[in-house]
Amino acid sequence: MLLHVLNRSPATSRVYQQALTMMGEEDRLLLVEDGVQGALPQMVRHFGEVQGRLFALEEDLASRGLLGRCDASVQVVDVDGFVLLTEQAERTMSWY
């Protein structure tokens, strides 16, 4: 199982499609930095195929005023949770 980390918003960049293309069936996707925009209910449809394996970084949500606006299907983790995800994953890939 790999962890994919995405720091771009699906509203501006198509790189999220590259991450999805390269994800295996058990892989997880963590939204960070501007990528957390993808956790909004209106945006989360772009990540339908990885439902249940989609995470977003709490600190980046909070600093953008998006913490209370996240879709319920997204699992919010803080930076300790981020480290834990990297421990659990065999490897981490960054998409930017």
Binding site: S9, M43, E59, S63
Partner: protein, 123 residues
């Protein structure tokens, strides 16, 4: 419609807070122009509307945000806060979720803005 927005400088802000410094760099240019007595309009396009979302908390590790600056805009007499309506809809946001009152604009009106300002800067 055009003359209503007519002004010296249009600054187009297309980047959200924190991710890059372009939002802040654009705001700084707008504030300086306003301090020099120019009439300034701000247009928040695309991801730029993220700059206006209320309830932005300080970064836990202290990266400086832009929300304090945006709340100060009226002190600089920057009253024309324009927002691309499509962008707001793209993110599923409503005007009452923004930190200050804005003017929503759609396609036809947007395309008249650049010619009704003497200078346009895109950030």
């Amino acid at each position: 419609m055009t003359s209503h927005f007519s002004s010296d400088l249009l600054v187009i802000l297309r980047h959200g807070p924190h991710g890059s410094s372009l939002l802040r760099d654009g705001l700084d240019a707008a504030l300086v122009a306003a301090a020099f007595g120019q009439r300034v309009s701000l247009l928040f396009m695309g991801e730029g509307v993220m700059a206006l979302v209320d309830d932005q908390q300080p970064d836990p590790l202290g990266q400086k945000g832009t929300s304090a600056t945006i709340e100060m805009l009226s002190m600089y007499d920057i009253e024309a806060i324009l927002v691309e309506q499509t962008a707001l809809e793209l993110f599923g946001l409503t005007p009452d979720e923004l930190m200050l009152p804005v003017r929503l604009l759609t396609g036809a009106t947007l395309s008249t803005l650049p010619t009704s300002h003497r200078l346009v800067l895109t950030f």
